[in-house]
Subunit: 153 residues, 2 copies
DNA sequence: AGTATGTAATTGCCTTGACAACTATTGTTA
DNA sequence: TAACAATAGTTGTCAAGGCAATTACATACT
């Protein structure tokens, strides 16, 4: 008769994918908690879209999708929801009649003022226990891993 | 009249969440590509469950779920699929009649022999451009970020 | 023992997001 | 310029996975 080992408290810390997943979950959870705490109903992706529009001005959905590593179909529906909430507006694109130009409405800009530093705060929380040079190293290492994976196929 | 900046090739590399997402996507994509290449129909999570069972022996679904940072309901359905494919078996747990003991079938063990080094290979690919000490640093930094986020609430 | 509380797995419901098919427009090439 | 390919956005369909409610069993408390 053989004893089943207790797995519960075991952690496979040599597994990069798992580690990544845990960090991701942590970041998303934290941001969404913070947003709901101040009464804002946005998920991570929606937040990032607003951030992008606030930072870089009006954009085409496809570009936003690519930038956020998102599928185009997903972006359509994400924008539907942001539009429903009144934070975002679809407008015809000046130079390409297939395309759209998405921009923030007044409500969107107002909202942004109140949530503008959320993700920075979360990110700072996440790296709270790292020294500044360690933070830079983390980013550098992650970038290199990403780039390696990207050009692998 | 103001020019809309070209976003397409722009990369917000200061965004931890985005970077994490890109790495995650890369890892998952790579693994699933490799699996389908050898004719195995498994997604990342299913793969990890098999790995866990192969490595640590029979386990309770709940423990597997916790270990893989998964929801219990999701685990139920994930196991349904693995059971459909015949890789895994649910058996009554010896000491707790609420619980189950999941173990690999013969087919599951045979499969594992053929895919056993997949995730290691992917992971090695991912960190291919890092020196050994850099790899260790990456893991260390990620673990610390995860732990920080975990005890933040 | 008897009740309350906790835990294991399952299920229904829902959201997110991927993929592929489709339409409309643009760009390219013969 | 006519045909063809590429691109922008939308839509249907689907799988993954989270959450809450439920059922069955286990543990703790008194």
């Amino acid at each position: 008769m053989h004893k089943i080992p207790k797995l519960s408290d075991l952690r496979d810390d040599a597994n990069l994918a798992l580690l990544i997943r845990q960090v991701r979950e942590g970041l998303m959870h934290q941001l969404e908690r913070e947003l709901t705490a101040i009464g804002v109903e946005l998920n991570y992706s929606q937040y990032l879209v607003l951030k992008l529009l606030a930072k870089y001005g009006p954009q085409m959905p496809g570009d936003v999708a690519r930038c956020l590593e998102h599928n185009a179909g997903a972006m359509t529906r994400l924008l539907d929801r942001l539009e429903d909430k009144g934070y975002v507006r679809r407008q015809p694109h000046a130079e390409d009649r297939r395309a759209l130009s998405i921009d923030l409405t007044e409500a969107g800009q107002a909202l942004w003022k109140t949530i503008n530093n959320c993700s920075e705060r979360i990110q700072n929380t996440a790296v709270r226990d790292l020294e500044q040079p360690e933070r830079e190293r983390l980013f550098d290492l992650l970038k290199r891993v990403r780039d390696t994976l990207e050009k692998t196929p």
